[in-house]
Structure formats: C-alpha cells, structure tokens
Subunit: 296 residues, 2 copies
C-alpha cells in the first residue's frame, strides 16, 4: 500500500468499492417496490470521495482481515449516504442538488427519500452486524450506532438545525461538526485499528491515535466543505446566496482567513498524532494534504 | 411465568421495561440538544402495549440470559417507536395523534421528528450490538437490520404508501403487512428462541415454529388495528373519515366480516403452530386471544 500514491490508492478504492456497494442494495424480491431500491441506488452510486472508507483501510493496514475491512467500508458509505439524504430534505437543508444531481427527494419524493435513508442505515448495520458475528471483539455495531445517534451524527445535525445564528461561535460550530461529521470519521479510524490483526494492547494504543487523527481530519474536512461552498457560491451566484438559506458556517462566522488557519491547525494536529502510533501508513499524512488541497 | 395470567405478565413487563426505556434515551451530555432528547422520550414513553417485547420474553423462556432478553426488549421498542414516528410524518400518513397525544412532529417539528426516529433506530442497534458482543452466535443485529430494511418493515411501508388503491387486494395487503408489521414480530420470536440456553439444534427447530407463530400473530395484530380504526372512526366521526385519508385497509378492501375471518384464521394458525414446538409458554396461546379481544 505504501508504494502507491494517494490518488492511485483512492482510485483503486473506488473501483473495488463500487461493485460492493451495488451488491449491498440489490434486493432479491421487490415485487412491489422497485422504486425504493432505485432511490437507494440513486444517491449511493452517484459518486462520492469515499474518504471514510479510505480512513478505515489505512488504519486497518495490510495484515487486516480483508472481508471485514470491505464490509466496514460498505457500511460506512451506506450510513454516510443515509445522512446526506436526510440532510437534504426540505425540512432540513432543503438542498436541490447532491453530488451534481437533483437530491433524492426531488426525484423520488420526500416519503421515499426518508424510507431510502432508513433502509440504507439498516443495511449499514446489517453489514456491521456481520463483522461482529465473525469477530465479536471488534464491537463494530455498538461503536457505529453510538457515532450515528443522539450523541453523534444525529445529535450534531439537530444542533446545526436549531442553534440560533447569534449563538454560533467557534465553540458551538466545533461542537456541531465534531458530532455531525467528526463522530463517524472517528469511528472509521478506530474500527480500522480493531480490524488489524495486532494484539489487543497494540490495537488500543493505536485506536487512541486514530481517534485524535480522525476527529481532527473530519473537522478539517467539514471546514474545507464550508470554504468550498463559500467560494463556489461567490463564483456562481454571489456570496450571500448560501448564507441567506440560513445556517451560519465557519466561514460566515469566523471569516475565510481564520477558517483556513483553523483548518490548517487541525490538519497539523492530525499529522502530528501519527508520530505517536507504532505504525501509521504514510498515506494517512497525505490524506491531510488532500483534504486541504481538494477543489470539490 | 406459567402461573401468572397474561394480563399480569404484561403489566409486570411494562413495569420492568419502562425504567429501562428511560435509561435508553438518557444522554449524559446534551449541551445544545435537550429538545432532541425530549422528542425521543415523548413518543417512546407515551405508553404502548409492548406486545413485541412480550413475544421475545415468552419465546426466550425462564432459563434465558436475562440481560440479553432485557436489552432485546428495549431494542425492539426503540425500533418500533422509530417506525411510528416516521409513519406519522406529513409526507407519510400525516397523522395528528399517536398514543393519545399529538404526534411527535406536531410537537417538535418535522425535522426533529425525523432525527428523533433516526436516533431511536441507532440506539436500538446499539442495544442489539451489545447482545452480539456478549453472544455472537445470536446475530441479533443482522437479523433485526434485515427485518427493518428494504426487505422488511421499510419495504412494506413503501408499498403501503405507493400502491394504488385499485391494486389493493388480499395478496398485496398481505404483502404489505407481512413486511411492515410481520417482519419485526418474526424477528422478535426468533430472537427470543436464540436467547434461550437450549442446544443449537433445539433452538433452530424452535425458531422455525416461532417464525410461523410470530408472523401470523403480527399480521392478525395489524388486521385488528384496521378493524379498531374502522370502528373507532365510525363511532367518532363517521366511517369515511379515515378511508378518505387515502390508504385502503383490510377492512375497506375486504369488508369487516371477511377481515374478522382472516384474523381468526391467522390466529388459529399461530396457536396451532405451538404444538410443533418442544416447549411453548401457554401465555403465547393466550396472546392470540388477547390480540383478537383487545379494544385499543
């Protein structure tokens, strides 16, 4: 793995993962429900950077149990895609576009979109449960369920929806994104460590590093999203367009310059953390550069 | 367990389960999100017949691992409650009342209701994952995730939403409810068997019986719901009220008399199945009578 570039690694990952994602939403019997299956496929297979599966694989390492790594990668993309469908709903962000296409609910209706998200989430847990059945010590289900729920992704999304603009400051934005985005990233890094075949003490020590790395990478990733959104909108339709839709971001609250500085500091912390691991794939460091440099 | 009446058993079950459900939605840190937690509590703790937890416990038997039975009961109520919140949404059934109180989204808003349902689902899987971590052979997560998803509860709900009135006949209504309601009931019966401490061959044989019993009980339960709804509306506001809201039911498609006959046949099948088990709690038979006789 160390001999390839990050871009090569990510390309290969997408090539390997795509057919597995397709299989994950195949349904043997759909006598009355082809449309629901189509809605699942529509958002899941529309592309995506697959950064979370990369984090799992890079922390798992070459000696990991390949089947469980593959299942974990499918699971996190199913869960992440479910969260995108929910975020885009009219009662949430009311987004029109996702991954360059009309959002799921704009094509299939709000009711189907909600059910599609729920079915993706359930299928994600089915994969995690499969890992636990083979390797109960991993506890993949418990870790991800916690990262998704009230004290994770969903909790963060709720604060993001409901916190008044005037209460948005660095602390509250950090709280939102550490939950909304960071929790799932963190679970990916930790799960990767647990899937390696190292002794449990080594795994625990590595997991602590992966936690620091992943949560900082995740938060930086989110700030980069905000920066790209701000720039994108500035180019295309004037800077106010997005902010008028309601939710203040790192960029709108702290300004572009401060947001870039915070992102760089988070990525430096993530990179620095890698020195404390008994082993860390060099591509994990490159992933930090990739997040900073990405243009979409 | 055999010495108490079904009513006594159900009363005790509710008394035991309620504090566990409360603990399941406690959240140590909710710096910005007390409202989301309130929304979870609101629907989860509004009462409910707790029939699904009863099915788990009666199939598990007295010699089962109590901690896992308790966790499974909490999990299924979390998941079932999530499905009620989703069903009631404006884009689904647009229900105003649930368990005698305004539906979750009418109190907390559609966005919070969707997030509350997702958080309940995630917490449910967290409990199931806990069972798998202790007893990996049970595979609780995989079984329930399948029962919830595309080929289970969510798949059934989608057909229920989208199937045109003119295509509603016995077969399609049966399909809908075997998925929407039956799949989770079936998972409860099967999980109960797996939680007993019997040898695996005994468990497998019992599970087959529990499957037949639970799916027929679940479908009968749903038809009884339809019958109660039809009668309830007839008394309170005229019979057309509910049917005008759109979705044809067993009662509206097949008539009241035929629906009662079908329900009785299903319950007879459930009762009959019990003779094929190496052991079956007599309360399982009484549960069939209870479903038929219930008035709410």
């Amino acid at each position: 793995m160390n001999s390839v570039s990050l871009v090569g690694f990510l390309d290969q990952l997408v090539r390997d993962l795509t057919p597995r994602l397709e299989r994950a939403v195949e349904e043997p019997s759909h006598r009355y429900t082809p449309e629901l299956r189509e809605a699942l496929r529509y958002t899941l297979l529309a592309g995506g950077k697959r950064i979370r599966p990369a984090v799992i694989e890079l922390w798992a390492g070459d000696d990991a149990d390949r089947e469980s790594v593959a299942d974990a990668q499918v699971a996190v993309e199913l869960i992440h895609t479910a969260s995108l469908i929910l975020d885009d709903l009219p009662s949430m962000d009311d987004a029109h576009l996702r991954r360059g296409r009309p959002a799921c609910h704009r094509v299939f209706g709000v009711d189907t979109a909600i059910l599609a998200a729920t079915a993706l989430l359930a299928r994600g847990f089915e994969y995690l449960g499969g890992i636990d059945a083979r390797r109960p010590e991993v506890q993949a289900t418990v870790m991800f369920a916690h990262a998704v729920g009230l004290e994770g992704m969903i909790g963060g999304q709720h604060v993001d929806l409901r916190l008044e603009a005037e209460r948005r400051d660095f602390d509250s934005l950090e709280y939102i994104h550490r939950h909304k985005t960071g929790a799932l990233f963190e679970a990916c890094g930790r799960l990767g460590c647990r899937l390696s075949r190292a002794p449990s003490q080594t795994v625990s020590a590595r997991e602590e590093v992966a936690r620091v790395y992943s949560r900082n990478l995740g938060l930086a990733f989110q700030i980069k999203d905000d920066l790209l959104d701000a720039t994108g909108h500035a180019d295309e339709m004037g800077k106010d367009a997005r902010q008028d839709r309601g939710k203040p971001t790192f960029v709108s609250v702290l300004g572009q310059k401060a947001s870039v500085e915070i992102m760089e500091r988070l990525l430096a912390t993530a990179r620095e953390s890698l020195h404390h691991a008994d082993r860390a794939d060099p591509l994990l460091g490159e992933l930090c550069d990739y997040v900073m440099a990405r243009t979409k």
